[in-house]
């Protein structure tokens, strides 16, 4: 890595001030994405603003919503009794991220702010119609997760909380890359009283909803309903690991597996 300065502010206000004081400053949460980037000399920030000790890690349920502090580590979500009871699919998703070392440091806020096209959390955020709260405002996940490694965050804006709508039931199924462990394709399926939402990660440049599959499942929430249903490969990612056609097929298959997990048949 390049030489850089490091600060550990005590409050969010201080953190924001530091970010504003230096346009090449960058905030750091668990560092599980950003530290490897630094080590490979792919970024040259002048100042690292460490948020890891000041972000909330609280997890709470109220009025049909599950709210998680941006500083909650993947292992916190994976093990949380509250999450396991109210939204077990999210605990399972967290448990599928990387390896124990990554889960012990990486945070939900960091993952959503980074919006890696192959990350797991964005699928849950989109399928569960999450609200993302920052030091400036609130966003709907569908808006916030705006593109490949892109969000609506300003340089001096920090994610503080994520609020998920609790579904009747949900499941996440992931086809992990043999190399990185990230999703080649992952499907988060959430069933609400009056709605079914299917969010696909890994396959496209940004997490997206599979409308055709959602429609089919709204009619009949069953694996059989997905028979013959497809996702259009056009616009999906193609690289040496998986081309668009394969990712499209995997996305449908992962959706089937998620539905199967829920219905058990």
């Amino acid at each position: 890595m390049y030489e850089t300065a490091y600060a550990r502010p005590r409050t969010l206000e201080e953190a924001v001030e530091l970010l504003q004081s230096d346009e090449d400053a960058k905030c750091l949460a668990g560092g599980m994405t950003y530290v490897p980037t630094l080590k490979q000399r792919l970024a040259m920030p002048s100042l690292l603003v460490d948020l890891s000790r000041l972000l909330s890690r609280d997890i709470a349920v109220a009025d049909g919503f599950l709210t998680i502090g941006a500083g909650a580590r993947h292992v916190d979500v994976q093990r949380s009794q509250i999450v396991r009871e109210t939204l077990p699919a999210l605990a399972e998703l967290a448990g599928l991220i990387g390896d124990p070392m990554v889960r012990n440091r990486g945070t939900i806020g960091g993952s959503l702010s980074n919006n890696d096209p192959a990350a797991d959390y964005p699928s849950a955020a989109l399928a569960l119609d999450a609200q993302i709260t920052t030091t400036k405002q609130q966003y709907a996940a569908a808006d916030f997760l705006s593109g490949m490694f892109e969000t609506l965050l300003d340089d001096d804006e920090i994610v503080t909380h994520v609020r998920f709508k609790i579904p009747v039931c949900a499941a996440y199924s992931k086809f992990a890359s043999k190399a990185s462990g990230y999703a080649v394709a992952g499907a988060f399926v959430a069933r609400f009283d009056d709605d079914v939402r299917v969010a696909i990660t890994g396959a496209g440049p940004c997490v997206f909803r599979a409308d055709q599959l959602e429609e089919a499942l709204k009619g009949d929430f069953n694996v059989w309903a997905l028979k013959g249903k497809t996702i259009e490969p056009e616009g999906l990612l193609s690289d040496m690991h998986a081309d668009a056609e394969y990712r499209a097929a995997l996305a449908v298959e992962m959706t089937k597996r998620a539905v199967h997990q829920i219905t058990g048949a």
Partner: protein, 678 residues
């Protein structure tokens, strides 16, 4: 202690500037900005090291064109990642920062492959044999290029001693004595000015059997600047510029009669080599051909191998080093022959394996297969898995529409030839020091050598200390490679202990030191048979290896635990080749798999249930009777898994697959087969 942990005095750190172009002419090389950067002691380019000598290359194949060995690229760049300049900094960070200030303009040039070495073995009857055969099957196997990836990357540390004008070099290597002699030859200095120590070595797998240009630079710089100098590669540098393994393409044709008797084999092997050749740079292409036709009797043979230079990363020996390639070709051909002739794959192998009574057997390619009972390996295997029951189970699963396969891989593993040394001292207090010219990279060699000495001298193992890998304290030797260390190095220890025993009996006074240089009678050939059971998911192409059963005859076993460790580790690497590992370059010759995020390494969870069975036929080729086992798993596993995968898809009409068997490639194979049918 590993090399990077060695405490040097105020050392200079090296950062290499590497070519981002695979083939080109250096038109400009600006080093001034780097030289002015803080903490930079010197910046060197090709001109500074132009006079240095070359690394020697083991000429197992007749060399037609020897690529030049440049410590830093001279006017021409011939390989991606080749060092073109080197920065010496007071800290590693300062060196790395300054390296970015070196401006290298390299004009890309067209390049075409160059034939480096070639050999043919033929008894000129193949065409005749093929003409009268009832079946001729053929196949082409393109092995993926693999990154050996020991946990510890390359690392070297040189301490300069002003008083004597000598260097002590800590080197993460398999061959410390060779490091010393090669350094002396390349630098043009007396070997006695160099002491080489290989401290703990965090894995090597063949990748650290030879010196690298980077290593030479570090020692040259220490002598030139009269200072301590060190370098440890980053993982990215390893993917780019440490030697890769495999990458071999082999094509073959097997002719047989309707009753399954093999009549002839024709094979063409092409092995890629990089811009420069390590010591063992030709071994892989040689082994991939000369281990043919494995343990089978094949009357007519026409076998050719070529080493061809291209402009990708350098290649070298990697655990197996041509053995997996030769065996894989043979085993695929046999499975294809089984499919066309309708003969059971086990039966077809058993019928054609050289019988125990015909050993030793001289092959056309110049080998002597020393000892064993090849068919017995199949018998033990079939019994261990209950082969008839396995086939019945497969029929049942297939009827349910499952894609399940059974694959067999018989293999031969030649272990090294030549000599190794041992110096054993029995002290007055009864303690024993065993010093060997061989070395260890976590094999447990110290344990095995101590056991051999304890048995031979009939003393307690705690009385024995083993010294390895320090040129100042051990006799000149070869090192740990080619599955040779226990067979040859262990035999040297045994002989030295026997000498001590007879001198004791002749009432010689203590301490007694026996120096032995043991030369084996020839290669000991380990062999075995592996069976893999796989299932493939129709909708995603995911392959699961349900179970692997191994039968190995590794000759006399010194330590069963260590042998098992070797089989398991080799098997994991063999599974890696079969299922996921592959170095990939794009059309412009840029490396796409530059980190573990893109290069898939097997993890513990990828390793299936493994059943190990063994029997021992002592080899007559060395005093211990041991055979090699270090490479067994890397040879047997890929052939068995590949055969099992093809078998799983056989009902769909699939006859060939290419490793690594990624889920995408299997999904495609399934889809095209299904679409082709409908």
């Amino acid at each position: 202690m590993f090399t990077d942990d060695v405490k040097l005095t105020n050392p200079l750190h090296v950062a290499f500037v590497r070519s981002q172009i695979a083939s080109g002419e250096i038109v400009e090389l600006e080093t001034e900005d780097a030289l002015e950067a803080e903490g930079v002691a010197a910046v060197h380019t090709g001109a500074d090291v132009a006079d240095l000598g070359s690394l020697s290359v083991n000429p197992v194949l007749p060399i037609k064109h020897l690529p030049p060995f440049s410590v830093l690229a001279q006017a021409t760049v011939r390989g991606l990642g080749q060092p073109v300049a080197a920065v010496l900094g007071e800290t590693a960070l300062q060196a790395a920062d300054a390296a970015e200030l070196v401006y290298a303009e390299i004009e890309p040039t067209e390049s075409s492959p160059i034939l480096v070495a070639e050999k043919n073995w033929s008894n000129a009857q193949y065409e005749e044999a093929a003409a009268k055969a009832d079946h001729v099957v053929s196949c082409t196997i393109q092995h993926p290029r693999l990154a050996p990836s020991p946990m510890e990357p390359r690392s070297i540390a040189a301490a300069y001693d002003a008083e004597t004008d000598c260097v002590t070099v800590w080197h993460s290597t398999q061959t410390p004595h060779r490091t010393r002699s090669e350094l002396a030859a390349i630098l043009g200095i007396e070997a006695k000015r160099i002491r080489v120590i290989a401290p703990h070595v965090g894995g090597a797998f063949g990748m650290k059997a030879s010196l690298y240009p980077e290593d030479v630079f570090v020692v040259w710089a220490a002598l030139k600047h009269k200072r301590d100098v060190k370098w440890t590669a980053t993982r990215s540098e390893e993917f780019l510029s440490a030697t890769h393994g495999r990458g071999i393409k082999s094509e073959g044709e097997l002719a047989l009669s309707s009753d399954g008797t093999f009549l002839g084999l024709k094979a063409m092997v092409e092995g890629p080599v990089g811009a420069w050749l390590p010591n063992s740079g030709l071994i892989t292409a040689w082994n991939a051909a000369r281990v043919l036709p494995s343990g089978y009797a094949v009357p007519a043979q026409d076998i050719t191998t070529q080493a061809v230079m291209n402009n990708l990363g350098p290649t070298g020996i990697y655990r197996g080093a041509g053995r997996p390639e030769a065996n894989c070709l043979m085993e695929r051909l046999i499975d294809k022959a089984a499919a066309v002739s309708g003969i059971d794959p086990v039966e077809l192998r058993r019928k054609n394996l050289i019988p125990a009574t015909a050993l030793p057997h001289n092959t056309l390619t110049g080998n002597t297969l020393d000892s064993g009972d090849y068919a017995k390996a199949l018998d033990v295997l079939c019994e261990a898995v209950d082969y008839p029951a396995l086939l019945a189970e497969q029929t049942r699963c297939r009827a349910e529409g499952q894609l399940v396969g059974i694959g067999i891989g018989f293999y031969l593993e030649p272990s090294g030839n030549g000599w190794e040394t041992a110096r054993v001292t029995l002290n007055e207090d009864g303690s024993v020091v065993v010093a060997s010219g061989s070395s260890s990279q976590g094999h447990g060699r110290e344990t095995a050598f101590a056991q051999i000495a304890a048995d031979a001298l009939n003393i307690d193992i705690d009385q024995i200390s083993v010294l390895l890998a320090d040129t100042a304290k051990t006799p000149e030797g070869i090192g740990a490679l080619a599955s040779r260390s226990t067979a040859i190095g262990g035999s040297a220890v045994l002989k030295a202990c026997e000498e001590i025993t007879s001198r004791l009996e002749a009432s010689e006074a203590l301490p007694i030191t026996a120096d032995v240089r043991y030369e084996n009678k020839g290669q000991a050939w380990g062999y075995g048979a592996y069976l893999a059971q796989v299932s493939i998911c129709r909708s995603t192409g995911e392959l699961s290896v349900e179970r692997i059963t191994c039968v190995d005859d590794t000759g006399t076993i010194v330590n069963p635990k260590l042998v098992e460790g070797q089989i398991l580790g080799g098997l994991a690497q063999g599974l890696g080749e079969a299922l996921m590992e592959s170095i990939v370059y794009d059309e412009d010759g840029q490396l796409l798999t530059g980190s573990f995020m893109d290069y898939a390494m097997p993890r513990a969870a990828d390793i299936p249930t493994i059943d190990i069975h063994k029997f021992e036929t002592p080899s007559p080729m060395n005093a211990l009777g041991a055979k090699g086992v270090g490479e067994a798993g890397t040879i047997g596993a890929p052939a068995a898994i590949l055969n099992a995968a093809v078998d799983a898809l056989r009902p769909l009409g699939v006859t060939d697959l290419t490793m690594p068997l990624t889920s995408q490639s299997l999904w495609r194979a399934i889809r095209s087969a299904e679409q082709g049918k409908s």
